[in-house]
Symmetry: C2
Subunit: 386 residues, 2 copies
């Protein structure tokens, strides 16, 4: 297994900072304040599973000019110092009376003066990762104006650099190798929860750092929902097994699924699978910068409509340092697609009440069209021992 | 492997609701509004890895009288309906213009009338899992008064039922079996990132549903920090390897670590390990309801001080549906310990600059003292092939 290099040179982070600073000038803010794992990782390279602990807040300040400043719990200082961030200020979190709030307020005021405008991600899909009480206290402590970032950070993160694309491709390759080995672990009689455990083991064996997301289902001729945990029910001949994984390698996610027939598939299942794969191939081939997310959604529906009722809801989304991020393939999302965006294409076909097939691939949009990052599925649904 | 039963009967959730409703009467609020995975899981049993996607907000309303109402994305309706919640209202998320906000506002007003007071977790360690823009819009749309919950939800979750204690014990047992097999995967020459992957595989083989958290380190005579990802450096004779896992089974976390010597340990490492294990045994034996978190912190420091400088920072925390939750073993936390609280005891000893050992166990506090949920470590540090 030839594993691609890990991490990025400082120049990658400086380029991200420069884009952010150009954006800040355009939207008129004096700094960005970031609090979430993905936003902080994007600008610093601070990669740790410690975000699983919700106890402590973490802050990164990107000033409109100059280098970022990290205001973080002391427990993270050694790891942050291994990266390119030089100005790291810490407090011994958690501190019930003042959990970094006054340190953050002082740092913001020192860097920006008393009248600055600070932008935060506040729109769709964002969260503020600090207690609301502390958020109110921060605003009271410093007279700064806090406001939305006009989607700046999400917009920057949506368009990937070549280094990021290579990282996501490497992640997708790990999942591709694991999916190719599902015949080793799944056949009629194996309980679904055992398949889930073994599939995660395959992901690790093939190079995943960890497996934050695995969903799936197995049911006769199609499944009802795609977010439930595994039951202990054994696979049965006639089931369609679907596994959908978002594993991480070097911080980046993949997010795609594969379907398997347990024993010979019915004609309906076979045709639905072929139609889904064909629709993704067809739509990917026609994809170009300048189209909108809504148009891409429409193209996926149109490609599937000869084959049955397209699955409802969103038919894909952005992908990167989060399992899902950025644009949504829905009629209401008018985001204009740009070269460098990494997108999941995730159409479904409803075969009957509570019986659906969903197929998903990951692509990067180039000037000339879509390039698959996930190793594309074959039209024939793979068959497990029935 | 005899796996304990999964899930809880409706009576468990009704008991949790009743405690919440008694608490609401005491703090004077007409409903609780919950948005995070752990809070919603606690009251509904809605267990899914789909929280890994930050795209969609999820809402649960607990009225001061009557049953809970879930206001959730349509993609979660089928799974939520399998549990005990009867009133489930959905919208086709994500919707850029109105992502559940008006549905939530209408539902709150319908349930509570126009002048109610709604409590949300807003204190230490909490987050509001919805965009700030939507939070402002919600407050503008309905004239309700939103306020902190006075720590009510965290307080309820901190004291576990017998069913929860059994679930956490089962999770700890999975990790215990995986730790007992570390000799199979770790010896001098094996790269640390390979040890991390293989250890996660062992956790899955032993019954973990998934492994959200694994941290650790390996370094000569002790390690510097405990939150970094694994390097590709091979284990070397003289290293101390530490693995710290928070795996999940049926929704509940464990959080404990184990240390291993690569080849024969130095006397300093051997003594530090024995002292840490002895300190946890000694402090656990003396633990009683009515003591405070600060006193427990002090007891751990006192037990270790004859053996060297105790590791700084927090020496343990609450545990349950989150890797870390509730109280902190720090001098500033005056939380009074109660029977039913599940706590990690996590002392460290500093052996030199950048050289530390940390040992962690999970216990439940009973009226008569602490009961170990993690299979307690032996004082002798286990030795891997050097």
């Amino acid at each position: 297994m030839t594993a691609p290099a890990r991490g990025f040179p400082e120049s990658e982070y400086r380029a991200r900072l420069q884009r952010a600073q150009r954006g800040m000038a355009a939207v008129g803010c004096d700094a960005l304040l970031l609090t979430t794992e993905a936003d902080i990782l994007y600008f610093t390279g601070f990669l740790t599973r410690f975000w699983e602990s919700p106890t402590r807040p973490w802050f990164l300040i990107l000033p409109a000019a100059g280098d970022p400043v990290a205001v973080i719990p002391a427990i993270g200082a050694a790891l942050m110092a291994r990266g390119w961030i030089a100005d790291i200020r810490t407090w011994p979190a958690p501190q019930p009376e003042d959990d970094g709030v006054s340190l953050l307020a002082d740092t913001l005021t020192e860097l920006l003066g008393p009248r600055a405008r600070v932008g935060l991600p506040m729109g769709l899909e964002t969260q503020l990762r600090m207690p609301l009480t502390d958020w109110a206290r921060l605003q009271a402590l410093c007279g700064l104006r806090f406001d939305g970032d006009s989607g700046l950070v999400a917009g920057l993160r949506a368009v990937k650099s070549e280094a990021e694309i290579a990282a996501i491709r490497a992640t997708c390759a790990v999942a591709g190798r694991a999916f190719a080995r599902v015949t080793e672990i799944a056949r009629a009689g194996v309980p679904l929860d055992q398949v889930f455990r073994d599939f995660q083991r395959l992901c690790l064996e093939e190079g995943a750092d960890w497996v934050p997301y695995l969903a799936g289902a197995a049911a006769p001729g199609g499944y009802e929902d795609v977010i439930s945990p595994a039951t202990t029910e054994p696979l049965r001949p006639g089931d369609v097994l679907m596994l959908d994984t978002g594993l991480r390698r070097d911080g980046y996610f993949c997010d795609f699924d594969r379907n398997y027939a347990v024993g010979p598939p019915s004609p309906a299942v076979r045709e639905a699978h072929a139609a889904l794969v064909a629709a993704v191939e067809e739509v990917a081939a026609a994809l170009r910068p300048g189209q909108t997310a809504a148009q891409l959604h429409g193209a996926l529906r149109a490609a599937l409509s000869p084959h049955g009722e397209p699955g409802g809801g969103r038919l894909g989304h952005g992908l990167g340092l989060q399992l899902t991020e950025g644009l949504s393939l829905i009629p209401e999302d008018r985001t204009v697609l740009e070269a460098g965006m990494v997108i999941t294409l995730e159409p479904g076909i409803v075969l009957g009440p509570g019986r659906m097939l969903v197929h998903e691939e990951n692509v990067v949009l180039r000037e000339t069209g879509a390039e698959f990052l996930s190793p594309p599925a074959a039209r024939d649904i793979p068959v497990l021992e029935g």
